[in-house]
Symmetry: C2
Subunit: 335 residues, 2 copies
Amino acid sequence: VTRFVLVAGTTATARIDGISAAGADPELLAHTPSADAELIEYGRLVRAPVAPVSPTGCPTPAAVTRAVRERVGFETLVVDGGLAEPTGAPTVDVGAKPGRDVREPDPVPTAPGAWVAARELGETLPDDELVIGETIPGGTTTALGVRRALGVDEPGDGSVPVSSSLPENPIDLKRTVIDEALAASGLAPGDAAYRPERAVRLVGDPALAVVAGLAVGALRSETEVVLGGGTWMLAVAALVRHAGVAAPLTVATTTYVAADADVAAAATALDCDLVVTDPGFAGRDDPLARYAAGEAKEGAGMGGALHLATRAGAAADVPDETLEVVERVSDAYGP
Amino acid sequence: VTRFVLVAGTTATARIDGISAAGADPELLAHTPSADAELIEYGRLVRAPVAPVSPTGCPTPAAVTRAVRERVGFETLVVDGGLAEPTGAPTVDVGAKPGRDVREPDPVPTAPGAWVAARELGETLPDDELVIGETIPGGTTTALGVRRALGVDEPGDGSVPVSSSLPENPIDLKRTVIDEALAASGLAPGDAAYRPERAVRLVGDPALAVVAGLAVGALRSETEVVLGGGTWMLAVAALVRHAGVAAPLTVATTTYVAADADVAAAATALDCDLVVTDPGFAGRDDPLARYAAGEAKEGAGMGGALHLATRAGAAADVPDETLEVVERVSDAYGP
């Protein structure tokens, strides 16, 4: 049996101007993970005030994951990776609390405890395979922080694969933020190598601790693990490897991420299998066209869900099913 | 679409000697709701230390509900109705906290808030039908308290339908406890009529508030509601009626409860449809025989799940499927 696990959390890092597009405006950013969880669980919103859209109207990738779930059918589980707003989706608590701005000295004090609790959960879940997704605005920045702290970010030419939910990746801003974050925690790049909980605690976000812990626990009990996501999930893969776990690990992402960052080289360096799926949104004249224009790219396990759709022979149905989910949510809660 | 909702909670009332059989010993009672939730969600235990069994080895009715879920397939949702121990099942939080002993003056201060939050949840859930079950050791006693506070317990001959998880129903003990509870809260029987939140707060338990709130919210949004349980669910029906909701309401229970208490008369008095299902455990020589001997009788939505099994034409498969679930859990966690 395959279970899709969504880890939903928040970090104040997302509030830094220009970092994230995961919400129509900054006030709504903190609701995005709660809304994504509801959308995947119920196919509509329950407690969250608005459906997550980017400032330009790009629908949340959670709509893709939900569409695949409706088409293919899989068990879901939402783990609280530091939610800041209520969600109507049922969640498992592993002790993660919202992350503070990474430029503070100790932004994620709950990381080590959440890692351990998530590892135990991953170890005891009865499934054959976990496909894990994430929803945490600002995550590509904290993922960069973790990779730099572990020292896995500069292979050869010093290029760092960092994707973005924005068409124009604010990579210089992210680098500046992480430089400040490392300095605030007294870390030089690579200082947290083989100390993954420390990397997450000092320059990461709570969802990274939860996903890494879940993956380590699942792999220990011989459950297969697919990390559904882009550069953020590569940071998780790095955390897993730096925790001393060498078991096979798959990263499943979208063509949009693969076009934006050299994820293949990064996956190879971390001894991960990489699966890249095209959701088939090109040439549409509906809100999904925003994806083809380079927005969102990934999130809420979209790449993992697309992998499941492909495996079930249902990939061709995903675009229309996704539009149906998007329209259902928009109808109910206004344009 | 039908969703099965389990409301899982605790009350210190269960610790009164002789009140409940929902755990092998008093220390384990508080783990029973957490374990039941895991069993229904995953088909095995995740965080809970032991599978719930009565002191004589009767397996938890949650095994029946899980068996039906594996056979028929339905969405599930666990709502935290005041859990005292961790669960690995994902839960929705409506603000319910563990109930104190009903003999204290204000044992469930979270009841009014949880009622409102549960009502909003019930109103927004997207389903056509909710089948609601409960797991709260000591619940038949707190349910008696609520019925007496509402004044719905003495029709004609003054008989009170109160079932029990024990073969010999400690009805005199329950009456004594509730007499003390009413006195401690300064209530005479019937004093809380048409004030259902007050009845739950002063002499009930947190799960009663959550199930009643969910039912009221769901009925308001024209979702059908089936209360899967015995005399505890009749107390919920009374709360719903005393909240001024006259919509159709079904109570689905087992033949064991129907043999133990006059639920038909009580259901009629509350204008509820009653569905009684025989799980088919008679004449077995395995742990399920404890049911035929009069133990457990109901719980964890067993009657509601059996109703779903019957509707799907799968009732005949339930006994063997249940035994399989019971054996799976016992194998993993010792005899």
